[in-house]
């Protein structure tokens, strides 16, 4: 499904990704770990098309289609979803309107008929309940004044509404209390599906207790230096990254 080959990317003259290799198949969940500043967020941003990064070499395809040639909205249309490490507050834009506009924009891109207001509302409500959020969240402005936990849950609400094929979830577990972590993790687990691939960027084993990954990758200095099964995450929790950094150097 997702194929990343030899991906290099830079910000200005500064190389950040230095040859990322990664393959996800439908139905799989992979965890991406690694020290602060190693390039995890950069990778998911580059895949989602965030402006400001320069791809200097390599490829990234979704179902064989070149992702890197597309605008961010086209990538969303192709099925990419980015769960933001820091969701953006947009005062004045209501969640309801945002979700409805996004849902119909994606349907148009996929060649499906747009939904009318009541069908939209129905879907959005269903997604809201499935994530365990109050309906009142829909009448608020996008992320504005949301608590850390609500922001992360709100990313999942968007994912549940927009039903992407590939979800890139950047630190959905950071800044959450124990209960919120459980809710968000369960939410992700519930969104697992045979046709969907999920890349979970995380620093901690905790979330992976709920969402057991098929593969775990470790990124250091812009490269994936080690991949393994779900046990690898536990080993990293025990040993840290020092031994890998020495090997990488």
């Amino acid at each position: 499904m997702l194929n990343v080959e030899g991906l290099h990317a830079a910000v200005g003259d500064r190389p950040i990704l230095r040859g990322v290799e990664l393959t996800l198949r439908p139905g799989e969940v992979h965890a991406l770990m690694g020290p602060n500043g190693s390039g995890k967020s950069t990778l998911v941003h580059v895949l989602a098309g965030r402006p400001g990064y320069r791809v200097t070499a390599g490829r990234a395809t979704l179902d064989g289609v070149d992702l890197l040639a597309m605008e961010p909205e086209q990538r969303a249309g192709a099925g990419v979803f980015l769960g933001f490490q820091h969701p953006v507050e947009i005062p004045g834009v209501s969640q309801q309107l945002f979700l409805k506009t996004a849902l119909n924009a994606l349907r148009r891109r996929r060649g499906e008929a747009e939904l009318d207001a009541s069908d939209c509302r129905e879907r959005i409500l269903r997604a809201t309940r499935s994530i365990g959020l109050e309906e009142s969240i829909l009448s608020r402005s996008v992320n504005a004044g949301f608590s850390g936990g609500e922001k992360k849950q709100n990313e999942l609400l968007q994912m549940a509404t927009l039903t992407p094929r590939l979800a890139l979830l950047d630190e959905m577990d950071s800044g959450l209390d124990i209960d919120a972590l459980a809710r968000v993790s369960q939410g992700i687990q519930a969104l697992r599906g045979p046709d969907r691939a999920i890349l979970l960027v995380t620093h901690h084993q905790r979330m992976l207790d709920w969402v057991v990954p098929d593969r775990v990758h470790v990124m250091i200095e812009g490269r994936i230096v080690l991949s393994g099964g779900s046990d690898l995450a536990r080993e990293l929790e025990r040993r840290g990254y020092g031994w890998l950094m020495e090997e990488a150097a």
């Binding site: 605008e71 909205e73 969303a76 990419v80 953006v88 947009i90 005062p91 004045g92 924009a105 968007q158």
Partner: protein
């Protein structure tokens, strides 16, 4: 033509106008007009060398002559006005065509007790003595060439007097409608709005255009709020991309009166609205909000001047500026606090968004505080749309244009959504969207 030649053309038109003035004006008015003309001849048009005019490019009104408008029949049926009218419930509308009161287009449910309104020319003919105090009010004297020009040659305008027993939902719309014509016209409304003691009232003044003519509206409005009066006033300047509009509004507020005003200007070749609010007695409060928006080569200028002349007076200003294309916005928010007054509260926020690299907005708070007991909070920002937010929206499938439209809507929503009642808000949003969509 240069500014001097244009000025000369107005001197000529003034003489014609004086000779033609059908109903003989009272002597005090003739003196008033002649005095203003003399001062206009001496002062001329303002120039960019004057501090208050340094950002304005006045060429669109000073380097082309405009012909004093005549009452005209434009063959409109009252139904044609429907899309331009806000009143769906109780209320009345006065329609002015090229500045002239058009009684056949004006209508409304029966005027409530204590309400008088109509055209200024008729009122002047009927009872000039009644208008003398308002016209000779020291606080409302002109202070630059354009106001002198209006004073010398105003023709008609709105006369509105609202009495204390008015139902606050009862809305007056003043619809200034400019029509297509061969020559660019000089349209000079002189408006007087009086809200009597204890009255709660709602007035919406809209300036719209039926064609694409480049008329010049040079308006002067006096607004008097008596003790305890409460006025909700919305000014909507939307005369199309070629319109020239210079408006001066002087407000005088007596004790415990409240002015809640929305000021909106959507483009125009040159639009400048001055609002001076005199909080002249304790307990007076004004809350001003609004939007100035300019695209293409449009120029919009708001010059506000809130004067805290008495203790225990309050003012709030909340403004948004939006500029696209080569559009230019100017916001000058002056707050003046008199020496020795006490318990003053004043707040001013202006946020401005630039949508293109060529767009420009100069936003300048100007605080002149000569007293100690003053709570004053102010802030001005100018910036581009939030890139992070744009990417966030696009990552959910919205194309760049839709994403930007959502952000712009949210930005202007802060001030557009304040209007009451709801049909007014909807109407405003519709007009704003039409303006955004127009090339």
């Amino acid at each position: 033509m240069n500014a001097t030649e244009v000025q000369d053309s107005y001197v000529g038109q003034f003489q014609d106008h004086a000779e033609r003035e059908a109903r003989r004006p009272p002597p005090w008015l003739r003196r008033d007009r002649a005095g203003a003309m003399d001062r206009f001849v001496v002062a001329g048009f303002p120039t960019r060398r004057m501090e208050a005019w340094k950002y304005d490019v006045l060429a669109p009104v000073t380097e082309e002559p405009f012909i004093l408008s005549e009452p005209s029949c434009i063959g409109l049926d009252p139904e044609d006005l429907d899309p331009l009218l806000l009143n769906r419930g109780e209320g009345a509308h006065l329609v002015f065509v090229n500045g002239w009161f058009a009684p056949t287009l004006s209508a409304g449910s029966a005027l409530p007790r204590g309400v008088r309104m109509g055209g200024m020319a008729r009122r002047m003919a009927a009872d000039p003595a009644e208008l003398l105090p308002a016209f000779s009010n020291e606080e409302a004297q002109p202070d630059h060439g354009f106001t002198e020009l209006n004073r010398a040659m105003w023709q008609d305008g709105a006369f509105v007097q609202l009495g204390p027993e008015l139902d606050p939902e009862w809305t007056v719309q003043l619809l200034f409608l400019n029509s297509e014509s061969l020559e660019p016209l000089l349209i000079q409304p002189r408006n007087l709005l009086m809200v009597e003691a204890g009255c709660r009232a709602r007035v919406v003044e809209t300036h719209l255009s039926l064609g694409r003519s480049a008329h010049f509206t040079n308006a002067w409005t006096t607004l008097l709020l008596e003790r305890g009066a409460h006025l909700d006033y919305q000014l909507w300047l939307d005369g199309g991309p070629h319109a020239r509009h210079i408006g001066s509004m002087r407000v005088t507020q007596a004790a415990d009166s409240v002015l809640e005003a929305g000021l909106f200007a959507l483009g125009g070749r040159l639009t400048r609205q001055e609002v001076e609010v005199n909080l002249s007695e304790p307990g007076a409060e004004c809350r001003l909000h609004g939007l100035l928006a300019a695209t293409a080569h449009q120029q919009v200028d708001f010059h506000l001047n809130v004067r805290h002349a008495a203790s225990s007076t309050t003012s709030h200003q909340e403004f948004r500026g939006l500029a696209d294309g080569h559009g230019r916005g100017i916001f000058n928010g002056r707050v003046w606090v008199a020496p020795g007054v006490r318990e003053i509260v004043s707040g001013q926020t202006t946020r401005n968004m630039l949508l293109s690299p060529e767009a420009e907005i100069d936003a300048k708070p100007q605080l002149e505080i000569h007293a100690d007991d003053v709570q004053c909070v102010h802030g001005a920002t100018v910036g581009s749309p939030d890139e992070e937010a744009l990417f966030y929206l696009r990552s959910r499938g919205l194309d760049g244009q839709t994403a930007l439209a959502l952000l712009v809507e949210a930005f202007v929503g802060d001030v557009l959504n304040r209007g009451e009642p709801e049909p007014l808000r909807d109407w405003m949003k519709q007009r704003f969207n039409a303006w955004r969509a127009s090339p």
